[in-house]
Each structure stands twice: as C-alpha cells, then as structure tokens.
C-alpha cells in the first residue's frame, strides 16, 4: 500500500536532500505534523491509561449485578429511562456498561500485546534465520510459513480453546502460535537485504560469532520494519480474540471481553441496539488507532523522500 502523502512528507520532499540526518527538531515536527499519527497515539494512550487505572476510574464494580436495574439505556439513547448513575447504561444483568467497557479494554490490550510478543518472537527468529542462512534453512522456514497459511486460523483457535479451556493464557498462546507468518515473511526479506552489507561482512571478517552478528548487526537494521507488522498483528489478535469470545470459545464470562459483550447483547439487538453498538465501536476504535499508529510510524521513520 502506498501511504497517502502527509504534510510532513511533502515538506521533506521539497527540502534539500543534502541534509543526511534530520535534526531533532525537524524529526519532531515530522512526527507531530502527521495528524493520523498524533490522533491515533492520543486515542491509544487514553485507552491504555483507562485500562491501566481501571479499578480507580470505573464508576461501578463491573461484575456487580443489579436485577432491578437491567438494560438501562444510556442517556443519549433514551433520556426517559436512563439512570444518570449509569452513563452508558447497564447490561442484561444490570452491570454497569461503562465499567465493563473499561475493563474490557484491559483484556483486549493484554491479549493483543502478549500475542504480538509471542508471534513476533517466533516470526522474527524464523525470518532472520531464513534470511541470514538461506539455503536449506530458508526452504524449511518457507515450508513452515506455507503450512501455517494453509491452516484456517479461526477454526484451529476455536478447536484448541474448546479442548484447553478459554483462559487468557490459552488464547494468547494459540493466537501467538498462529499469527507469526507475516513477521517471518517480512523479516526474511529484510534480512536478505542486510546480509550482504559491508558491516555484516566486516563483523564476520573480524571473527564475530553468528549469534552476535545476528543480534547486534542484523537485528538492529531490520527492526524498523517490525513496528508496522507488530501494530498490524496486535490489531489482528484483538479482532480474533473478540471473534473467539463472540463465538463462545474465547475469554469466558463473566469477564467483560468486548466480543463477549456483543455476543451477550445480540439477542436483544432489536430492542436495545446500543448494547451491540458500544462494544463493537470500542473494538473498532482501538483497532483503528493501532493500525493508524503503525502506518504513521512507518511514514515518519521512512528514509527521506521515500515516504
């Protein structure tokens, strides 16, 4: 995908190319003048802060049921029936929707982040090994990637969760073991480009060990590509967790996973449509912010004039 040009990139293109490294102030302006990057970063930081300090922020206990206050709509949906104590209403068990949404952010962020760590570690290790050693190693890794791609992710994840049970750890592990392919593909080609560079040859010539070359010569030079895939895969993991929980084979009740909240509200869709709108929109906003942040970082860190 070709990124849409932003104010910062067009400004870079007109500036003289003789400047080899952007000064820190110019770099800062390049980051700050990308509206997508700034907005998505702000949204993401807000969600992360809400999630981190959830126990001190939430107006109600997200698990406390109140059978006399079930399915109260938010004030903007129906001011007549709304209860000002429940800003975003209550669910079918009378639990405060806003509190559950805030706690749900914890689940999404935790699963997204740790899945990305697991899959990123596997994919980066495989990709760098394939790109650096080539030959047979490369064939084996390519074979693993092709095999992984042939497996239907949702079905395999559902089946494993059905057998092992739907805890956060199981979901992270299953998704982590399934979503490493893109990391491997990108790291493989990035390493291939770096492999023949002078600094790698030099490190080899002065007798550096292979792990040392991979760790301190190859890895730092391919890591910039990681940010974009990492953001994309984190978003992907969040969407998949929501889908698994929605299907009843992910995070289990009473945990307030956003996917689970949509699932619990879908029977009431005709009467209380806001109940599926809110958690769905929450997933959408979080995923959008992560994707845009990844795109923004890629644009801001791309070499001069190439963004």
């Amino acid at each position: 995908m070709k990124p849409a040009p932003t104010a910062s990139t067009s400004a870079e293109a007109t500036s003289p190319e003789a400047v080899p490294v952007a000064s820190s102030s110019r770099r800062r302006s390049r980051w700050l003048s990308n509206p997508g990057l700034v907005v998505s970063a702000l949204v993401l930081v807000t969600i992360a802060l809400l999630a981190a300090f959830a126990p001190w922020i939430v107006p109600h206990d997200p698990y406390a049921q109140a059978l006399d206050a079930r399915m109260l709509p938010p004030a903007f949906v129906d001011p007549e029936r709304a209860d000002p104590a429940h800003l975003l209403g209550t669910d079918n068990l009378g639990r405060d929707y806003l509190s559950r949404l805030i706690y749900g952010a914890r689940i999404s962020l935790l699963i997204g982040f740790f899945t990305m760590l697991v899959s990123g570690t596997i994919g980066t290790a495989l990709g760098i090994a394939a790109g650096y050693f080539g030959g047979r190693t490369d064939s084996v890794v390519s074979f693993l990637i092709t095999t992984r791609l042939s497996l239907p992710v949702v079905m395999v994840a559902l089946a494993v969760v059905a057998v092992l049970g739907g805890s956060l750890e199981v979901v992270v592990l299953v998704l982590g073991l399934l979503l490493w392919d893109r990391f491997a593909v990108v790291m493989r080609s990035a390493t291939m480009q770096v492999r023949g560079r002078e600094y790698v040859t030099a490190a080899r010539a002065i007798g550096c060990s292979v792990p040392r070359i991979l760790w301190s010569e190859v890895l730092p030079n391919v890591v910039s590509g990681l940010v974009v895939i990492a953001s994309y895969e984190m978003a992907q993991a969040i969407l998949l967790e929501a889908a698994l929980s929605f299907l009843g084979l992910g995070v289990q009740p009473p945990l307030p996973s956003w996917g689970l909240m949509v699932s619990e509200a879908k029977e009431l869709m005709l009467f209380e449509p806001w109940m599926i709108m809110l958690p769905g929109a929450a997933i959408c906003i979080l995923v959008l912010a992560i994707n845009l942040l990844g795109d923004g970082i890629r644009d801001a860190t791309a070499p001069e004039g190439r963004a």
Binding site: F143, T146, S150, L151, L158, A159, A162, C284
Partner: protein
C-alpha cells in the same frame, strides 16, 4: 514452466502432508480425548473403555497411519452426534459454503476493482483518500459485528433481506456482503497499486498517443495488465473465505461447513472437526497452488525463482 510447476506441486504435497499431521495431532495432544468423550462425571474405568473403543490406547503413529489411509479413501470417520458419516455431513454442507464464498468473492471483486481503478486514476484526490480510508476502516471492524450491523439495518429495521436460512439466493446476500467486505481492502489496494504502476508504463503512453479512446486504453491495455495479480490473489482470498466463513455462517445460522465446524467444536465432536480442518486446509493448498501457477503463467519472471 514445467519445472516450476513440478517443484510447486511437490511443495503442495509436502504441505498437505504436514497439514494432515497437524489436523490429526491437534486434537490428540491438546487434551485427553477419551476423558472429553466420556464426559466430566465418567469413572476412570469408563474412560479406559472409551479409550480402547476408539483405539486411543495404541501408538500415535499407528493411529495416524490408519486415520490417513481411511481419510484418503474418503472415509473421514463418524460424527459423535449425527447419524451420518463425517464425509456425508461435509458434502451436505459444502454447497452452501461454496455459494456463500463465491458470492462473497464476486462482491469483493465488484467493489475492489472499480474502486481501486478510480483511486489510481484520481491519485491523491479526495476520491483516492476516501477509498483508502474506507479500506482502513473496513479492516478495523470485527467481522461478526459488521454482520450484526447488516442484520440490524437491512434485515430487522428495513426488512429488505432475510437474515438467516438458505432457501433462496436472497438469503445469501447479507452473509456474502459481510464475507466479501473483508477481502475488499486488500484486493482494492492491489488493484490500485497495479494500476498506478501500469499507467506509468510506456505502452499506455503509446496507446494514448496513437489516439485510442480513453476507455479502450484503460480497460484493454491498463486494467488487463493490472488485474492479473488481483485474479491470482482472489483465488487465495476464496480459500480464506472458506475458512473465514465460520464467524459469518455462525452469525447468520447459515448451514455451511463453517457453521458445522463451530457446532462440532462446541459439542466436542472431534471426528467432524478433524474432517473439516483437513478438507478446508487441502482446499487452501489447492487454491494457492492454482494461484501460484496462474501467476507464473501470467508473469514469466516468477518461474525463475
């Protein structure tokens, strides 16, 4: 071309073998199958009896060998819930999923090719940005949520379309839109990138220079070249739709193999789960093989690699 095809075929066979091992092992090593089959209140003796009944006490390799041989001859075992065999169940549901995925693919192509073309022709204008923005937004929506929104607006509120069942083609419209929607961004971006590249080529300038009408240049010269990789990717997307239909079919209660898979997984009907996994994965292997051969045939540069 033959050499490339042979090499690619060999890889496909190896992958198919690996997939069969995974499909087999996944449900054997990820838990005590006999215990699960016997239920939570079963006594140890009962679990032992079930283990012997299903041959679960023999070495894994022997179990796998037998399972593979039987699967190759078309016998995927018996369901624990349905009276039919697994193969019959899958064959029974496959047409619905095939119709759904085909309609989904057609919708995705109808959306992505014109959008990608217009975006490429009007590069960096509001049209281009809107198309890219829609793609970004589309990728951020959870598929089950998008499907529920379709049900809510077009099924329940407006009452235009049925929200479940498989009686007529109208029943497939909403699920197909939901399924096709998620392949649209990637296909659109590929069309756009291909068009941008092709439009800058010399032969397009030549075609314009010799006075051909714009629509002839665009469709006969530009689109035909730009769309080749899109067609190849579309076959892979078709494979993704077959497996991605689990979520969509479940939301619409559409009786395809995706719904069957979800049902079987929820009831721990493992022979069915295994059979579906195998069939879907082999479909995907076949489709990527076709896609790769198609790509190589269209673009001789690939054959060298």
């Amino acid at each position: 071309m033959l050499r490339f095809a042979a090499k690619r075929l060999l890889l496909a066979l190896a992958v198919a073998f690996a997939v069969s091992v995974i499909a087999f092992l996944l449900l054997r090593v990820s838990g005590d199958l006999a215990g699960t089959l016997a239920g939570e209140e079963a006594s140890p003796e009962e679990i032992e009896r079930i283990r012997a009944l299903y041959g679960l006490n023999r070495p894994l390799v022997a179990q796998y060998g037998e399972w593979l041989l039987r699967s190759l001859s078309g016998d995927l075992g018996r369901s624990l819930f349905y009276p039919e065999s697994v193969a019959a169940l899958i064959l029974d549901r496959l047409p619905n999923t095939t119709i759904l995925a085909s309609c989904g693919l057609v919708i995705a192509l109808l959306l992505s090719i014109p959008l990608g073309m217009v975006a490429a022709l009007r590069r960096n204008t509001w049209i281009d940005r809107t198309a890219l923005g829609l793609a970004v937004l589309g990728q951020a929506m959870p598929s089950f949520w998008f499907a529920l929104l379709l049900i809510f607006f077009f099924g329940l509120t407006l009452g235009w379309l049925p929200v479940s069942g498989t009686e007529s083609l109208a029943n497939f419209v909403l699920p197909a839109v939901a399924l096709g929607w998620f392949s649209t961004p990637v296909l659109m971006r590929l069309t756009r990138a291909g068009m941008v590249e092709v439009l800058a080529a010399d032969y397009i300038r030549t075609a314009h220079a010799k006075g051909l009408p714009v629509h002839v240049v665009l469709v006969k010269h530009a689109l035909r070249n730009a769309v080749a990789p899109v067609v190849a990717l579309a076959s892979v997307q078709f494979g993704n739709m077959l497996s991605g239909s689990v979520v969509i079919e479940t939301v619409f209660a559409l009786q395809g193999i995706g719904y069957l898979a979800w049902e079987a997984i929820s009831r721990k009907d493992f022979p069915v789960v295994q059979g579906i996994l195998l069939v879907v994965a082999l479909f995907y292997v076949l489709l990527t093989l076709v896609s790769d051969l198609l790509n190589a045939w269209l673009d001789p540069r690939i054959r060298g690699g």
